[in-house]
Every structure is written in structure tokens, then in C-alpha cells.
């Protein structure tokens, strides 16, 4: 299993993408979403996810908000900001560029 952040910025990209599809998720939901949608191939560890969320919040790409759940406990929900949406675009195109470059190498080598 590949390490989640073995490729520069891939974790950011995954989180941003998931938040762009489904607004307001908490950390655990983001983690399971990545796991489910990658067909159990990608697994994000808590030790990587929360620092990443923290960093992206500092960078202004996502914002967090406390909500009260039905159980009365509070949970922290994340959603994409406008800046985040723009960043997602950048990251996506960068990803495309990188993967197609790699593919080209694989084909021609």
C-alpha cells in the first residue's frame, strides 16, 4: 500500500476534492471517504490527516465549524472556501500534468 503522502501534495488534493463533492464533513468522514472511494487502497493515517487539515485551514483553503450532533456532542465540520476551490483547480491540473508526464515515461521507456 502506498504511503498516503508519498506523492507531494496528493493528500491535500484528495481532501480538497472530497470536500468539493460533499460539503461539511468531519475528519473521520474525510478519512473513511478517501478509504472507500479509493477501493480501500489509500488509507490516511490520523497523524497525517489532522496536521494537513490544520495546515489547510491556516492557508485558508478550508474552514472549520463546530456543530452539535444529535447525541449532544460537538463535532468539527470542514468545508471548502473559494480559495480552496481555486487551489483544487491548481492541484488537479498539477496532478494531471505530473501523472501524464509519468505515463509518458512509462510508455516510451
Amino acid at each position: 500500500m502506498p504511503k498516503s503522502d508519498s506523492l507531494q501534495g496528493s493528500l491535500d488534493l484528495l481532501v480538497l476534492k472530497i470536500l468539493s463533492r460533499r460539503a461539511r464533513l468531519h475528519g473521520y468522514a474525510i478519512m473513511s471517504a478517501i478509504q472507500n472511494m479509493s477501493g480501500e487502497v489509500l488509507r490516511v493515517e490520523e497523524g497525517s490527516l489532522y496536521p494537513a487539515l490544520h495546515r489547510m485551514e491556516e492557508a485558508g483553503w478550508i474552514r472549520a465549524e463546530w456543530i452539535t450532533k444529535d447525541s449532544g456532542k460537538r463535532a468539527r465540520m470542514y468545508e471548502l472556501t473559494a480559495a480552496g476551490r481555486k487551489q483544487l483547480g491548481t492541484e488537479e491540473s498539477r496532478w494531471q500534468a505530473v501523472t501524464s508526464a509519468i505515463n509518458r515515461v512509462l510508455r516510451e521507456a
Binding site: 468531519h26 475528519g27 473521520y28 468522514a29 473513511s32 493515517e45 490520523e46 497523524g47 489532522y50 496536521p51 490544520h54 495546515r55 491556516e58 463546530w66 450532533k69 456532542k73 460537538r74 463535532a75 468539527r76
Partner: protein, 890 residues
């Protein structure tokens, strides 16, 4: 992370921590809901969270808990790197121990107030003026009649107390054969009530015990003496002892902590000052004068104190002016210098003693040296901690990223430092406990076992604790703050710029080397001073020479003194015996001004000594011209003079056969004829320039021509034995058997007397050398640690270099170059430091110049050698790196 948000995080750290906790908590619950194993879900966040979670609501408990956890963690960290930790602890222990020990000594001697009431209001009266050698001098000796006038003059405002210089005396509780030695101090009777010293037993003196000269043969024992001599026997009151020709009766024991007014001497017996033979003499300055303002009006009032001082000065000056009328043969300017002395009130809360004034500078210097050693040790530990911290950068990064508060990280690293400091402090304390008394034993001249109370009480304890705390902060705070400011992203990616860390370590190496150089440099100067001073030619031979201080019950005629000397001459193992008033270098001095051909004296004093025929041969002082004394020569009349005397008074011409005059009190002028010219000897000290010396016959006659009888004399015995003291008891017996009136009060080797003049130098040299070795050792360990670390860090690079064919020499250069340039830089800084600081201690040197190339080269070479040695293991390690294993391992 930008600075502002870091700051903001720090300020709202607590809330942030709570929120992070809450978020993690909800994460865990969610995970459990989705069927994950609860334990495993928690584990994902590490133990820190678990601890916090368990005791979240009780903040203090949480903090204590975290403290405990960090302490345990710190301990494990130390254990993980056992060798480095041990090196750090030992070097720190040595430094802390040395510091505490130095403090103990300085505190006991210089800082601790006397255990008397109102010690802070005690002053010592002293006079400052221009001495006969035209140099400023201060002296705190007084004549008792002068004291009495001064006491009467300020009776309403202050109390004056006379205390003699404490000295060892011989006394006996039974017969003369069983004399023992004790420290005696003559004190004003009213000292006890004035200083609030109560009796532990019997009664202490009052004003009424000090009325008539020689009229109060009573004694008060110190508690210490009562304990070790009499086992606290209450029956001691009323017992008598004989001292000289007087029988004293013990009236009481002073309460425990008071042992006299001289730190460094524990007085055994106090007697009233009126019992001193000098109380009626106007020309003997033999006691100190302590001053205490009366309670009330004067407290802390400088103006009032100044007015008293002026009154005292005026009184004393009037006394001396009266006395100066009898000064004949003294130059007017010398008399003026003498009269124009300024009276000083010097604070004496800590007591006054010659040990204090003699060792103040050396102790201060040792204090500084020891502090430097401590700084070197701190730099060392800081370096080792920094190296460790780099290995923990990842750990720190994870801690920060999962929300570990920065304070918490500081605490974590500081606690590890605290462990180091604590262990070092305990070890250091043991070291100090042992070394304090050891150093005191070194200050003492061997035959004069002065004692210093070295209590290990709260003062020393709190100093030690403050030191440990300060040290923790000093070497722990920088790495702690550094660790806590780790940037999680770069930290997790593989560490921040490794060079920044190395730069810090290199700077610390330079600092260490600079300090180390300074310590070595100063040590070298002191060692050379000691060597030069003790190799100083004395002009006589001290080998196998015994000095017998001898007393007689009543004044005895010369004939009897000679009988005793002759008796000793026949003892097996004795080569030659002579008589003198006092030994050379024994401390006593007798001097006078000389006038040649009736001309006024030139202001240069001549030292005098009274010696018997044969003294020259016994002392092995060369006779250059003329003859030795004959039995028929007498004082006044014949004289021997030394070469300096001939130079000063006879322009270097042969003075044999010439005459000169000496002036004595009451205008008596006596004429002497020079019968012999002899070599210069060291008379009073090893340092001062040689003064003119003259010898008169031991045989002296009074104005009518009758022989003067003498009570005191010194027998000088040249033996054929390499350890002459084995003859001591035989000689003692022989003296008393020759004439029962005579008794030897003290036997010393002349060598011992000579050595007592280099005690301070020996102390400084030995301790400075010890600290230099410690400093070198610690700095060496530090250097080794840094190089070791840098090789570890660069092993990949080195591996590649070796793989592409770098030579061993190249690798060695690569590894050591930075550090060695730091060593050179540090040494250069050390030279600068040395040149600046040497100015403050120059007065303690003897025939040594700080700018001597040799004095600079030696420490520099030593440090360089030490550095090479310390670098060797790391270089070998670097050269031996196997590129294949290395590159594969990474």
C-alpha cells in the same frame, strides 16, 4: 507557520488544545460507531492524548500528571544514550561540586556574619597611610593606651572592643613536662555583653574583669575547646592552668557558635585584655579595635558615623603626636607620613582575620575560574542536548502537529535537563562535601593548623539548589525552545536545516575553547609563580635545620643559654647549634634607621637580628669579608652587615672596620663597628626586595656593661639527618635536662617556615591546575561529542565521497576542518580574554609576565593537543565508514 499565528496559537494554546482534544474525541467516537476497535482507534492518536483525555477536567492533576509523564520520559531518554548522559552528568557534577565547594569556602571565610548580636553594625578600626617604603599601606594594629583614649572619647556614642591577634600558646594543666598548645585571644571584658555572647556554663567576662594590668587571671573557654579538650565536663569551672608564669582560673564557657572574631582561627581560650603584657606599652601595636555604635541614635547614619570617625582620628593623632616627640633619627617626612594616617571604619560583620585579607583575592580568582569551568560544562551539556534534540526532531514534529502545546514541549525538554542537573547536583554535592575541608587544609601552613568552620547549612544548600536550577535553565532552555519551535512540516519531511544546528554547536565549541584557554593560561601563570617563588634563593640553607623556640621561667644569663646550646651540640646527629633572637622568615621583624658618620638616616630601614657566634656557619650564610662574632663581642658594639647594607650605606665599598649609629627610644644613640660582611638572606618575605640587614651579638649588655638576661630565644640546630624531626623529643628533653629552667615551646623545621611563605601561591597553583585539567577534560568530551555527532549526520555524504574515491586524509580534513577552525578562533578569543583579565590579578604573580610567549604557547599547545586527541575517534570512525553498508542502510 507565520509568526503571528504561532504567537496566536501560543496565546490561545489552552483553548486550542481543548478544541483539538474534542475533535479527536469525536473522531474516535465516530470510528467506534463505525465498528473500529476502541483501543486501536485511540492508539492512532498516541499516548499524550490518552493522558489528557483521562484527566481532562482536573487541570492541576493533569499538569502534575504531565510532569510525571515527562519526567519518566526524560529519564528514559537519558537511559537511551547512557554514555553521553554519563559524560554530561559527570562533567556537570565536577563543575557544580567545584562551584559549591568554592562557595562554601568563600561563604565561611568572607560572607558569613559572625554569630553575635548586631554583627552588621560591627566595624574594624584601621589606619591608612604612606609606609616607610613610600607605598600606601593599611594596618589595623593598635597600642592599648591609644585605645583607652579613643574609647573614652566616644564613650557616649559607641563601644570600642580590643581583641588581640589570636595566636597559639603553650600552657599546662599539670606539670611543665605536659604542656599543650591552644589558641589564645585576649579580649576586652565587655566584649561578651556588647556582642550578646552568653555563657554556656559558669560566667563570661564583664567590664570588671578588665580593670588592672595583670590583675585578672581568669579564662573563658570556647565551646569547641570545652568539647574536644574536656568532653563538655561541667567540672571544668574552677580548674587552673599555667601560661607563662601566671596561673589562670577557668570561670566559664562561651555559648556554642562563637569562636572568636577571626574567621580561620577557632579560639580555644579567651583571657581579659589586661592580662596581655603590652597593655601599658605605647609603642606596641598588638591588638585590633572593633567598633560598634551604641543602639539607637546612630544606626545607619553616615554623618553621625563620620563625626565619630573624626573624633577617633583626632584622639589617636594627639596620642601619636605626643609619642612622636620621642622619635629621633627618623626623617621628618616619615614622621609626617606616620601622623597623617587616615583612620578608617571598615565593616567587620564577617569578622576580621589575616586569613581573610590574605586569601580574599585568591578565593575570588578561584571563584571566577570555577564559574568558567561551570560555563564550559554547561556549553558541553547544551551541545550534547542539541545533538540529541536533532535525533528527536521528528518526534517533536509529530508532537506539534497533533497539537502538543509548545509549553508542554519546553517542559518535556527542560525536565530532561533537570534530571541531568539533579543527578549532577547530588554527585557535585558529595564532591563539595569532601573537597571543602581538603582545600582548607591546603590554605593552612602545616605547623599552624588554623581551622575554619564549614557548616553545610541552608545557605550552602540553597546555593547548590539555585546553581542546579540556573544550570538547568542555562543549558536546557535553548534546546527546549528550539525543539518546541520545530516546524512540523519540515520536521516530518526530514528535518530542518542541519547546518543551523551545527552552527550553534560550533559556536559553543569556540566559547568552550576560549574559556578553557583562559583557565589554562591563568593556571600556567600561577604554577610558574609558585615555582619561581619557591625556587627563590633564600641566602641560607634550610635543609636538615630545626628551629627550637625556647623559653625560660625567669630571665636567664647568657652563660646558661650557652650551656643549653653546648648540651645540644653533643647530641648524636647534631652538626652545629647556634642561638638567635628569632628564626629567619619566622614573621617577626626588628628594624631601625641607620645613620653613618652622624648624617641623618636616608629613610631606608634595616632589618636586625641578634645572633650568637657560629650562627653564620649553622645557617650556612656566607661570610664575604671580615670575621664572625667572637664570644667577647656584645650588643651594642659589634655588627655584621649584609651586601645590600654595604651598597646602600657605603656605596658598595667594603664596610668592614667602619662604624654607624642606631637610634633607640628616648634619644639613645649607639655606635656599632662592622666586623664582618655577609651574604644577603631572605629576612621576612620571599617577595619583597632585599633590604639592608645587620646582625648584632645575641650577647647584649646594658648601659652599665652588665649582661642582659633573656627569657626568650631560638636555638637553631643543624642536623645530619634528612628528617630532622626524629630528634625533636630528644632535643626537648636535653634542653630541660641541661637547665631545668629552660623549656622548648615549639619545634619546627626551617623548611616548614620557608614553605609557609608560599602557601597562598601553592593553593592557587594547585587548585588552578586542577580546574585547568577539569576544564580541558570537559571541553575534550564536548569536542568529541560534537565531532561524533557531525560524523553521524554526514555519514551518508562521507560514504558517497569514499565510494567515489576520496582519500582518508581528505575525509579527516572534511570532518575536522570546521571544528578546528572553531578551536583556533576560540583560542584566539581566549588570548584576548586572558590579556584583558590578567590585569586584575597581576599583583599575585611573581617574576612572571603574562605576555611571555611561553605562557601563551603552553596553554595553546595543550588545547590543540587535547583537541586532536578528542577528534581522533570521530576521524577514525569517519574514515572507516563502509560506503556499501552505509548507502544500503539509508
Amino acid at each position: 507557520m507565520p509568526l503571528w499565528s504561532r504567537l496566536a496559537n501560543f496565546l490561545r494554546g489552552d483553548r486550542l488544545n481543548r478544541e483539538i482534544d474534542e475533535e479527536f474525541q469525536s473522531h474516535i467516537e465516530e470510528a467506534i460507531e463505525h465498528g473500529r476497535d476502541p483501543a486501536e482507534a485511540r492508539k492512532a492518536f498516541g499516548s499524550a492524548l490518552r493522558h489528557r483525555e483521562e484527566s481532562r477536567d482536573i487541570r492541576l492533576v493533569a499538569w502534575l500528571e504531565s510532569l510525571r509523564a515527562d519526567a519518566v520520559f526524560g529519564w528514559r531518554q537519558l537511559n537511551k544514550t547512557r554514555v553521553t548522559s554519563l559524560a554530561a552528568i559527570l562533567s556537570l557534577a565536577l563543575a557544580i561540586g567545584a562551584c559549591t565547594s568554592a562557595f562554601r569556602l568563600i561563604d565561611a571565610l568572607l560572607l558569613r556574619p559572625l554569630p553575635v548580636a548586631n554583627a552588621e553594625r560591627l566595624y574594624d578600626l584601621s589606619r591608612q597611610g604612606i609606609g616607610p617604603d613610600n607605598k600606601p599601606q593599611t594596618f589595623d594594629g593598635w597600642a592599648y593606651p591609644d585605645f583607652q583614649l579613643m574609647r573614652a572619647a566616644v564613650a557616649n556614642q559607641a563601644e570600642l572592643i580590643a581583641v588581640s591577634y589570636a595566636e597559639p600558646i603553650d600552657l599546662t594543666y599539670k606539670s611543665d613536662e605536659e604542656t599543650e598548645s591552644a589558641y589564645l585571644q585576649c579580649v576586652s571584658g565587655w566584649m561578651f555583653p556588647t556582642l550578646g555572647i552568653r555563657p554556656a556554663l559558669g560566667r563570661v567576662f564583664t567590664e570588671n574583669d578588665d580593670l588592672m594590668p595583670g590583675g585578672h587571671p581568669y579564662a573563658v573557654l570556647s565551646h569547641d575547646y570545652w568539647t574536644h579538650r574536656f568532653g563538655q565536663d561541667p567540672g571544668v569551672i574552677g580548674r587552673t592552668f599555667r601560661l607563662g608564669n601566671t596561673i589562670y582560673e577557668i570561670t566559664g564557657v562561651a555559648e556554642a557558635p562563637f569562636t572568636g572574631t577571626e574567621p580561620g582561627t577557632i579560639v580555644d581560650i579567651f583571657v581579659p585584655i589586661m592580662m596581655h603584657p603590652g597593655v601599658t606599652r605605647k609603642d606596641w601595636t598588638w591588638h585590633r579595635t572593633l567598633f560598634m555604635p551604641k543602639p539607637g541614635a546612630l544606626e545607619n547614619d553616615r554623618a553621625a558615623l563620620e563625626s565619630i570617625r573624626q573624633k577617633l582620628q583626632a584622639t589617636s593623632r594627639a596620642f601619636e603626636e605626643e609619642r612622636a616627640k620621642g622619635f629621633l633619627g627618623m626623617r621628618k617626612e616619615d614622621i609626617d607620613h606616620f601622623l597623617n594616617q587616615t583612620l578608617l571604619l571598615l565593616p567587620a560583620a564577617t569578622g576580621v582575620s589575616s586569613l581573610q585579607s590574605e586569601t580574599r583575592r585568591p578565593l575570588e580568582i578561584l571563584g571566577v575560574l570555577v564559574a568558567l569551568v561551570l560555563l564550559i560544562a554547561c556549553a558541553n551539556v547544551a551541545n550534547l542536548m542539541t545533538a540529541q534534540a536533532s535525533a528527536r526532531a521528528r518526534e517533536m514534529a509529530v508532537r506539534v502537529s497533533i497539537g502538543g502545546g509548545r509549553w508542554r514541549l519546553v517542559q518535556l525538554v527542560l525536565l530532561q535537563s533537570a534530571w541531568l542537573a539533579l543527578l549532577a547536583a547530588v554527585l557535585g554535592g558529595l564532591f563539595a562535601w569532601w573537597s571543602g575541608p581538603f582545600v582548607v587544609s591546603m590554605i593552612n601552613p602545616p605547623d599552624n593548623p588554623a581551622r575554619l568552620l564549614l557548616p553545610a547549612d541552608w545557605r550552602v544548600l540553597s546555593f547548590g539548589l539555585a546553581l542546579a536550577l540556573g544550570v538547568t535553565l542555562l543549558f536546557g532552555l535553548a534546546p527546549a525552545l528550539r525543539a518546541s519551535s520545530v516546524n512540523p512540516v519540515s520536521g516530518l519531511k526530514g528535518g530542518e536545516d542541519p547546518h543551523s544546528r551545527r552552527r550553534l554547536m560550533h559556536a559553543l565549541i569556540a566559547v568552550q575553547v576560549a574559556f578553557c584557554f583562559l583557565v589554562l593560561f591563568v593556571a600556567g601563570l600561577f604554577v610558574t609563580t609558585f615555582k619561581r617563588l619557591s625556587n627563590q634563593p633564600t641566602g641560607f640553607s634550610a635543609d636538615r635545620l630545626l628551629v627550637l623556640d625556647t623559653v625560660a621561667k625567669q630571665p636567664q644569663s647568657l652563660e646558661f643559654w650557652e650551656q643549653v646550646a653546648e648540651r645540644l651540640q653533643s647530641v648524636q646527629g647534631v652538626e652545629k647549634v647556634a642561638l638567635a633572637d628569632e628564626p629567619l622568615l619566622g614573621g617577626g621583624s626588628w628594624n631601625n634607621f641607620i645613620s653613618v658618620n652622624g648624617a641623618p638616616p636616608n629613610g631606608i630601614l634595616s632589618y636586625m637580628r641578634a645572633v650568637s657566634p657560629g650562627w653564620l656557619e649553622t645557617m650556612k650564610v656566607p661570610l664575604i669579608d671580615g670575621r664572625d662574632f667572637l664570644p667577647s663581642d656584645a650588643h651594642p658594639g659589634a655588627a655584621l652587615v649584609n651586601e645590600t647594607f654595604a651598597k646602600v650605606y657605603f656605596d658598595g665599598l667594603d664596610p668592614v672596620g667602619k662604624t654607624f649609629d642606631l637610634s633607640f627610644d628616648e634619644g639613645v644613640r649607639l655606635r656599632y663597628q662592622i666586623v664582618g660582611l655577609v651574604g644577603d638572606v631572605r629576612y621576612k618575605s620571599l617577595r619583597e626586595p632585599i633590604l639592608p640587614q645587620l646582625y648584632v651579638p645575641f650577647h647584649s649588655v646594658d648601659a652599665t656593661g652588665a649582661t642582659v638576661k633573656k627569657t626568650n630565644g631560638t636555638l637553631l640546630v643543624r642536623t645530619s639527618l634528612s628528617s630532622p624531626l626524629v630528634l625533636a623529643s630528644t632535643l626537648r628533653q636535653e634542653v630541660s635536662q641541661a637547665r631545668s629552667e629552660f623549656r622548648v615551646s615549639r619545634i619546627r623545621r626551617q623548611l616548614e617556615i620557608n614553605e609557609s611563605h608560599t602557601v597562598r601561591e601553592r593553593l592557587l597553583a594547585t587548585l588552578a591546575l586542577f580546574f585547568a585539567i577539569v576544564a580541558l577534560l570537559i571541553a575534550g568530551v564536548g569536542l568529541y561529542g560534537v565531532l561524533h555527532y557531525s560524523v553521524l549526520q554526514r555519514r551518508r555524504e562521507i560514504g558517497i565521497r569514499i565510494a567515489v574515491g576520496a582519500q582518508a586524509g581528505g575525509i579527516a580534513r572534511l570532518v575536522t576542518m570546521d571544528v578546528f577552525s572553531m578551536v583556533l578562533f576560540g583560542a584566539a578569543a581566549g588570548v584576548g580574554l586572558g590579556m584583558v583579565s590578567i590585569r586584575f590579578i597581576e599583583s599575585l604573580f611573581y617574576q612572571v609576565k603574562a605576555t611571555d610567549l611561553q605562557m601563551l604557547a603552553l596553554p595553546a599547545l595543550t588545547i590543540l593537543g587535547g583537541a586532536l586527541l578528542a577528534a581522533l575517534p570521530a576521524v577514525i570512525r569517519a574514515v572507516r565508514i563502509d560506503p556499501v553498508t552505509m548507502l544500503r542502510a539509508e
